[in-house]
């Protein structure tokens, strides 16, 4: 039950775009046409889930002051795990890890699965340093690092997946709205991105309504 709650909460209530205001650049940039928005959304789900898993590993084995820390294992004789607390490095390390991961995945897809690359690959470089992806990694640590390793890993991946799904949902809705906006009579000063931001704000207000869903 709590897993389902976690998933719903990250998709609707704590939506990355509309509640946390992360990932706004692709949200405005790639929401002009529905097919592109869908492609971007799938790519984000994929990358968020992968990045969550990988950053969890990086945190748990490299940065966190636990007995599993690689440095503690190698040089830990006579010292406590607390001496190996590198958590202050997490932002830099996560960026490094995510960027490398996305690059690798892109190359892999281009070679091995060209069909998937065509529909997904072109969006991958756009997500490399997306704040939503980094955001989910940092949020995972904040939320779940105190749980047992297995439990925290599972929740981390679930949160990554849910964050992506929430992003896809909002991007899809937005692209539908913007396709119609293209045909609407908008005052010249508001044409294009300005009216899109107004719509985004209204959508954020609407999503606030989901707050009452849990508790």
């Amino acid at each position: 039950m709590s897993y389902a709650l976690l998933f719903i909460s990250i998709v609707l209530i704590n939506n990355f775009v509309l509640a946390k205001f992360l990932g706004l650049c692709p949200f405005i940039g790639v929401s002009r046409r529905r097919p592109e928005a869908m492609g971007m959304g799938y790519a984000v789900i994929f990358v968020m889930a992968m990045a969550s898993a990988v950053t969890w590993a990086a945190y748990f084995y490299l940065l966190a002051p636990t007995k599993a820390n690689v440095f503690y294992r190698i040089m830990g004789e006579g010292r406590t795990p607390a001496d190996f607390d590198f958590t202050y490095l997490q932002t830099i390390v996560f960026i490094l890890v995510i960027a490398t991961l996305v690059q690798l995945v892109e190359m892999f897809l281009m070679k091995m699965v060209p069909a998937l690359y065509k529909s997904l690959g072109i969006y991958l470089p756009l997500i490399t340093t997306n704040c939503a992806v980094l955001g989910v990694a940092l949020l995972n640590i904040k939320d779940f690092s105190r749980l047992s390793p297995a439990e925290s890993f599972f929740r981390t991946v679930l949160q990554g997946l849910g964050g992506g799904v929430g992003f896809l949902l909002v991007l899809f809705l937005m692209s539908g709205i913007r396709e119609r906006l293209d045909r609407a009579e908008v005052p010249p000063a508001l044409k294009g991105v300005p009216i899109a931001f107004i719509c985004a704000a209204l959508m954020a207000l609407a999503f606030m309504g989901f707050l009452g869903l849990v508790k």
């Binding site: 293209d182 045909r183 609407a184 009579e185």
Partner: protein, 445 residues
């Protein structure tokens, strides 16, 4: 409660009292008739006469070009003056044969004849109808013989006659039913024989009690059901009439054939009777001439090709006229030029002092057009798409299902010319389709 169709519809004021009780009078053939080759839906007929030829009344002057086309006959006897490009009331130009009337009224050979339609096979009936150049007289001018030849895999069980006449002002079907009920009923029997339909139904709106009485009397004891329907526009649409009478719904993109029905207008039934039983081709048609700018509203039997101006003059025109329409006020087309000829599909001529939609404002999103659309279409969105040039959307907005009944334009409080937008969207969409097809072909090379 009387039956009607369920989805959408409007109730325009019916305005029929001006001509309801005026009997159909003969309109004398004018000195010059102009007979267009494209009076029907489909490819235009090919002219078979040239300038200087003598023609007799009822003589073939345009031959059907393929199956989806119709023969055209001379409505007077006289001499062909010339062939020229001329606009028809439908708005497009086509080849038109101009004939000078010699007023002798000599019929072509073997017309009229007397033959027993009961002895004719369905195939012979269809051939006779095609030879007579009969087309749908309700307005769409669909070649009638095509509707008498259902494909083998689609058996027809019900032949329906359309006596609804839901357009305001028009009373011509009504007068025809009152005065020629027997001929119309025979026409229905001929239709039913041609398509092998067991059931025969006549649908008439309840605001025509006299027509109901006359048709009931003519149909008595013959296995024909004459049904009074509740008044609602556009009940005269094929799909709406089928829904009202049988409860069957014709899916988008399908034909009445697909639900086992065939629908003909009462005027068409009368023309079919003439063509089959009397060998008389469709060379004249009844017209309602009405509207507040007409001094002597009338129902007239007018030879095809008569200039609209001559007919209007006959009935007297008020100087304050603003707009002249061919057909009813809902679906009719404006006439720009008094020399435009009367054609087979024209059901009336209206002259009005008031133009309903003079200014057209922006959409206020009230949704009334969606409410009244009998086909569940979204006219406001179609108009928006064509305004923005968003061609991708036409396909999923189903513009081609629209029959242009005009209910949306009628209710639009902003006075938007929604039907014109849809018509334009259809035009644009077919053009894009063609373009796309060409590009695909280019790519393959």
């Amino acid at each position: 409660m009387r039956r009607t169709f369920k989805k959408g519809g409007v109730h325009p004021p019916d305005m029929k009292e001006r001509t309801r009780d005026v009997p159909i009078a003969e309109f004398p053939a004018p000195a010059l008739v102009m007979i267009p080759m494209a009076q029907h839906f489909g490819s235009p007929a090919l002219p078979v006469v040239g300038a200087g030829d003598k023609v007799a009344k009822g003589q073939l002057i345009g031959k059907a070009d393929g199956r989806m086309s119709a023969n055209v006959h001379s409505s007077v006897s006289g001499k062909v003056l010339r062939l020229e490009e001329k606009f028809t009331p439908q708005g497009r130009a086509c080849k038109t044969v101009v004939i000078e009337n010699d007023n002798s009224g000599i019929w072509a050979d073997e017309i009229p004849c007397g033959r027993d339609w009961r002895a004719m096979s369905p195939k012979e009936i269809v051939e006779a109808v095609a030879a007579g150049g009969v087309v749908g007289m309700g307005g769409a001018a669909f070649p009638a013989h095509v509707k008498l030849e259902p494909p083998h895999e689609k058996p027809i069980d019900t032949a329906i006659l359309n006596g609804v006449e839901c357009e305001p002002y028009l009373t011509i079907d009504h007068r025809l039913m009152v005065e020629r009920a027997a001929e119309i009923i025979t026409g229905l029997r001929i239709i039913a024989k041609a398509v092998a339909a067991k059931e025969m139904v006549v649908g008439i709106e309840s605001n025509k009690p006299e027509a109901l009485k006359a048709m009931n009397a003519a149909a008595a004891g013959g296995g024909i059901r004459v049904e009074a329907l509740d008044v609602k526009y556009p009940q005269g649409g094929e799909k709406q009439l089928i829904a009202a009478l049988t409860g069957r719904e014709v899916p988008p993109g399908k034909l009445p054939f697909d639900v086992g029905c065939v629908v003909h207008n009462v005027g068409t039934a009368w023309a079919i009777f003439n063509a089959v039983a009397k060998c008389v081709p469709l060379i004249e048609r009844p017209l309602t001439i009405s509207g507040d700018a007409i001094e002597r509203p009338a129902n007239l039997m007018v030879p095809i090709g008569t200039p609209v101006g001559a007919v209007i003059e006959h009935c007297g025109l008020d100087q304050k006229v603003k707009k002249i329409l061919s057909g009813g006020p809902m679906m009719g087309m404006a006439i720009a030029d008094p020399t435009i000829p009367v054609v087979k599909g024209m059901s009336g001529i209206l002259a009005l002092k008031k133009v309903p939609h003079d200014i057209s404002g922006p959409c206020i999103r009230c949704g009334r057009c969606i409410e009244v659309c009998p086909l569940g279409g979204i006219a406001s969105e179609m108009a928006r798409a064509i305004e923005a040039g968003a061609i991708v959307d036409y396909e999923h907005l189903h513009v081609f299902d629209c029959m242009e009944c005009g209910s949306c334009s009628f209710v639009c409080p902003a006075g938007r010319n929604l039907v014109q937008y849809v018509r334009q969207a259809k035009e644009e969409a077919s053009y894009r389709r063609e373009l796309h097809r060409k590009q695909q072909a280019k790519k393959q090379i």
